[in-house]
Amino acid sequence: MSDLTSFKCPCCGGTLEFDSKSQKMKCPYCDTELDVESFRHEQDDNEKNLKEDEHLLEEVQHGGSQFSAEENADMESYLCQSCGGQIVVPKGTGAGNCPFCGNPQVMPANFEGTLKPDFVVPFKLDAKAVKAAYMKHLEGKHFLPAVFRDENHISEIRGVYVPYWLFDSHMRARMVFSCENIERYEDSRYRYVKHIYYDAYRKGVLDFADVPADGSSVMADDLMESIEPFNPEDGVEYLPAYLSGYAANRYDVDEEAVRPRVQERMSRTMQTEFEKSVTGYDRVKLKSSDIKFKKISAKYVLYPVWLLNTTWRGQRFTFAMNGQTGRFVGNLPRDDAAYWRTFALLTVALGIVFSFVVYFCMVD
């Protein structure tokens, strides 16, 4: 069993949470605010205690039947520092709330050694901002079921630190574009179309910085790409205190696995940029392309994401908000009855109008 870390208020003993507004640790009971940096020494102490406890645990005999290796492979158990309850969580969980007392807990062991993020971008927006963004997201949407406008329909709002890989690269490419200009003219007998062909050669370099790819198999890739971009310049050194009050997972999709997707995006952009330099032609088409990644490196970071879940007719809908910029996305259900009703009404109305138009055209 591993240890949890919870950050206690020095005034009242309540569990502190990271406050996105003040960017400090705040006690929800007495409103005491403390700098995140002041918890650095706690992190060092915890790491030390963790190693000592691991040594002691080797000699402890537990009652009850043992979990099989397969069962243990997918879960981890912790003791809550506030109430002493045993918490069993999926492996890789880095932070969350105790199901018994509700206090925020951080599992620092999941972000140690090679798993330690290079930096973390703290939450800038709170749960109130998520609700406001959600309501705004629903505005002006045609064919949206009316029940979705009811705020009480939201089943869950969670702030999650999502593990991301950020890639820097230096790329070199050589591309050839087939180009064509078209001229039209005529004389007394003929019409002429003149096609003038060129090949445009482009060779050059392009750099990318901090191209993200989420390192969590739980998060839908398209959902995470939809809330981009994040601004890594707001990143701070990783401290467990930043995770307090939020959920967090360590990566379970490694850098190698996400690299092809990132390279695909960078290559496509490079092609677009090269194509933009081919000007003065009526038609431009890529003929050949040779892109090489001369240098590519990755960083492991935690980005703040708000997730909001809601259900409608047994179907689950997940929305995501960038916890730094407030960009909100999520597919909404369609009210099929309203959709087809509108289609039928428009067809009849436009059909009558077009019938008159066609009729008078035929008469003329």
């Binding site: 007394s188 002429y192 939809s226 995006r265 996305v329 289609f343 066609v358």
Partner: protein
């Protein structure tokens, strides 16, 4: 104008109306979808890092298509 032409006009008008109506409702419903993959990485380009060593355009040839004008073409 006989009744067959009238039926044809109504049928044609309604087919056209259905097509236009479908385009309108599809556009109205498109606002419900906001999750889509980002296939480009343009926002992550390093400023002024795009540099070309070679930018050459080479002429490859010309092809002319000729079409006889219709007899009654006044031009």
């Amino acid at each position: 104008m006989n009744s067959e032409d009238l039926v044809l006009a109504i049928a044609g008008g309604f087919v056209l109306g259905a097509v236009v109506a479908y385009i309108i409702v599809a556009c109205m419903a498109s606002g419900l979808k906001s999750v889509k993959p980002r296939n480009e990485a343009d926002v992550y380009m390093v400023d002024n890092s795009l540099n070309f060593d070679d930018k050459t355009d080479i002429y490859r040839g010309t092809r002319i298509e000729r079409q006889l004008k219709p007899q009654n073409d006044k031009k």
